[in-house]
Symmetry: C2
Subunit: 364 residues, 2 copies
């Protein structure tokens, strides 16, 4: 049975941005800018947020799709792949300990007491322990100052037993995430969010020290499932710094032909339905319908959206950006939610931390 | 009349990479990598170069195109737009001099005596003079050492009268361009090639200090020609660090839906023919035929390819990546080659240098 939120989405897509007046303003901004190039910074006014929202219009598709009544897709088991990677990392950590007497260390900075952040941090630290890595936490109060946060960061930065530093996001509003991330040493940026690591990921002939964990996990899922990427058409839905952007850059490094779909894209289904590989990270439940997908495509669903479900103990359950029930009848392989991309994120964090320790100790 | 090289391309496209075995090797690399994730750096093996080469196959298009016999496209006059920008920059430099007694300064590092590089450098320095900026040149011999080059760079870096530093590329083979660019101060990186500037261009909510000149010029041509970018489908052909990559990132910042076409793309014409805006930077003469373009599209042709032409004094003339004679009958607007994007590159270099001086002197 489709969950409640999903049903309401079914009625309302195609989604659009909540207000079209903002787009018009942007067009005016463009014209204004063109007269003013040497007087104003060029991009500020264009950094308007993606605002994925449904429109009241009904659903129209002008292209058919081969949709069988049977589930035909292979399910990409992220949990089992992540378990295998974690087990390999555990072996490597043991080998490092036996060879040089050192283990990788992860420093986590946590500001405030958000329940979800606490859960994420606890899971990351437990995962470290499980593979034999050390983890350290700097827990700061919600009202901490920028200087207190920078001091905690600097302490991890100079500590040779800490090879990766992770600032749990989001930070409280009074702290500027960019400012904090900019002072994080790129050599310990195991989240891969420092602009110099992102720039080196984007540029040909260069190598970032770290690749952001979730998109790195997406590519691993494809490769370990035997999906070739070279020469394939890929659509990435969403363009966040954390997933969409680095996923598109990674797919391109693997020589896919990448199209990036976002909230301003008209007829996104025309692009996704031509793609051999679809990576969705929009954060909109059931955004991608069966009709959006090419028969035989491979779908990596990064969305993790809570929807009400009284039959679950917690009162809600998690669903992806892709309407799973429809997609499994169209595509050749798909990640489930939960149990697809999710478990890979922590596995890749451990992999990045291990890589960092290897570099620090020149351990091969 | 079509030039000679153009005719031979006409017979031979669709182009393909010179060897398909390399793609197969890459697929094997993928599989190998998937078994080895924690043992090998993740991206090295995939950084194979784009190798745009024709295949012996004949030309097949399975879609029609409305191609009139008349030229209907507006010609985007890059030279006149660039002249206007340079004139505005000249006024600003005068205003700066009158207000604070300072002018922007550009430091150029030139290694060796490549004829083309000498011409480019001369043109850039003349352009500086014309708008009242100062320019300085560090001319190093072809066999100079890395240390000599770094010393010249460092001299400009600490000189407060130099606001922009430009290392004329390509460097001789014994010098590693990446290593040199990495030590260039991002605050004086007027070419916008430093990875931290590229990362900040890629990431939402961030601002690079400088945007690479040629793609910045492409966007200016679009905006100043009244072409809206928001919500448009854009295809970028080529993914070089200098043009294709930053052009795709810039178009995306302007909320276009961007697809990146490269030498591994199958049926690139299927992507380009759906695009409202096509930016080509492949370096392949007449790669983009009339059939590749959507009627009414806007084409920005960054290609500057010399082709034999005995009727020209120099024995050759420059043509773009787009088959101009065909395109002007299909699209609504197009840049000519020469006289389109070319003149914008130097104008944007002056604009970046002026911006840098403004920042240095807090001059608004």
């Amino acid at each position: 049975m489709m969950p409640r939120v999903a049903m309401s989405w079914r009625m309302r897509i195609p989604w659009r941005r909540r207000s079209s007046s903002r787009a018009l303003n942007t067009l005016n901004d463009d014209a204004h800018r063109s007269r003013q190039i040497i007087l104003s910074p060029p991009l500020v006014s264009l950094d308007i947020p993606d605002d994925w929202a449904p429109s009241p219009h009904s659903l129209h598709f002008d292209f058919p799709v081969n949709c069988s009544h049977e589930r035909t897709a292979a399910i990409i088991d992220g949990k089992s792949i992540a378990d295998q990677i974690r087990s390999n990392i555990g072996s490597e950590v043991r080998r490092m300990k036996e060879s040089i007497g050192m283990v990788p260390g992860l420093g986590v900075i946590m500001v405030g007491q958000r329940k979800d952040s606490e859960t994420y941090v606890r899971n990351k630290m437990m995962a470290c322990e499980e593979v034999g890595m050390k983890s350290y936490i700097a827990q700061l109060p919600d009202h901490c100052t920028k200087d207190q946060l920078l001091k905690a960061l600097s302490k991890f930065d100079v500590d040779p037993s800490v090879h990766g530093i992770l600032v749990q996001l989001p930070l409280p509003q009074h702290l500027d995430e960019r400012e904090i991330m900019d002072v994080l040493s790129p050599e310990k940026d195991v989240d891969g969010f420092h602009p110099i690591n992102m720039g080196n990921l984007a540029m040909r002939g260069r190598e970032p020290l770290f690749i952001p964990c979730t998109p790195k996990g997406c590519i691993e899922l494809l490769l370990r499932s035997g999906v070739g990427i070279v020469g394939k058409k890929a659509a990435v839905i969403g363009r966040s710094n954390i997933v969409g952007l680095p996923a598109s850059l990674l797919l391109q490094r693997h020589h896919a032909t990448v199209s990036i779909v976002h909230a301003f894209t008209k007829n996104p289904e025309h692009i996704t339905s031509g793609a051999d590989i679809v990576v969705t990270a929009a954060g909109v439940p059931n955004l991608v319908r069966g009709n959006w997908l090419k028969p035989g495509a491979v779908v990596i669903d990064v969305g993790t959206n809570p929807v009400e479900d009284p039959s679950c103990e917690r009162g809600y359950r998690l669903i992806g950006d892709v309407c799973y029930e429809e997609a499994v009848r169209v595509v050749s392989a798909i990640t489930p939610v939960p149990g697809g991309v999710g478990p890979m994120t922590i596995a890749m964090l451990l992999s990045n931390t291990l890589d960092s320790a290897r570099r620090a100790y020149a351990f091969t």
